[in-house]
């Protein structure tokens, strides 16, 4: 199913896109698996997603751990730890 994937901060800069709409293969079930799949798309993606421990995620606009499922989700965002305030 098509998924809207959003990138923020240095993840966005390394990928070179703020957003893309992709249909991951059926065996991609979690955010962590999605990150591993995305890393193969381009050198920029590889640079953004090479160290998953530096990444955080939101699934349908809720913060979720990387082990969380993306089943049924319409939007996944991937970004570094937040630094507001």
């Amino acid at each position: 199913m098509a998924l809207t994937i959003l990138y923020f901060a240095w993840v966005r800069e390394r990928v070179g896109l703020a957003e893309e709409r992709l249909t991951p293969p059926d065996d991609i079930g979690t955010v962590a698996q999605l990150i591993g799949w995305l890393a193969q798309r381009s050198p920029g993606h590889a640079a953004a997603f090479g160290e998953p421990e530096r990444l955080r995620a939101a699934v349908d606009q809720q913060f979720r751990p990387l082990e969380a499922t993306i089943s049924g989700a319409s939007e996944v965002a991937i970004f570094p730890p937040v630094t507001g305030g």
Binding site: F8, A58, Q61, F63, P80, V82, G85
Partner: protein
């Protein structure tokens, strides 16, 4: 009353304070975060996740309202590019008594540091860099975990 704002305009402290006064509040506590002037930062840019940001701030504000019995709370966060000395964020919490207003303000700013989708990018003379999250921020947020919804 919960008032959330995410805006590129400068934060007007008196206006935010006025939003939460009244309604029987005996105490208003505020926190204002300001772009530092002491570490060579020329400008600070705040990026955020527009579809999620206001909901995340509202959740933090609602949590504090329930826990501390607030009569009103405002969280106003600036986004875009700002200069040293300019305000980044203001939290104002109103309650019948000071302890609840002060604690609610502290809880909100600690949780905002880890639970709201903002990212800071600093411009220095040598170039720009994304600010790294601090382990101390997680520890500060975690201390409020008891008693939250």
């Amino acid at each position: 009353m919960i008032d959330i704002s995410v805006n590129t305009a400068a934060i007007d402290v008196a206006a935010v304070h006025a939003l939460v006064e009244g309604n029987g509040a005996g105490a208003v506590a505020t926190f204002v975060g300001i772009v530092r002037t002491d570490d060579g930062v020329r400008a600070l840019t705040l990026e955020h996740y527009p579809a999620m940001t206001k909901a995340a701030l509202h959740h933090i504000a609602a949590d504090a309202t329930r826990r501390f019995g607030l009569s009103a709370i405002a969280i106003h966060h600036r986004v875009g590019t700002m200069l040293p000395g300019e305000r980044i964020v203001m939290v104002a919490a109103a309650a019948p008594h000071r302890h609840d207003a002060l604690a609610a303000t502290a809880q909100c700013i600690d949780l905002l540091k880890t639970e709201a989708p903002f990212w800071k990018r600093e411009e220095h003379a040598a170039g720009a860099r994304w600010v790294e999250a601090r382990a101390g921020d997680d520890a500060a947020a975690a201390k409020w975990s008891d008693g939250r919804a």
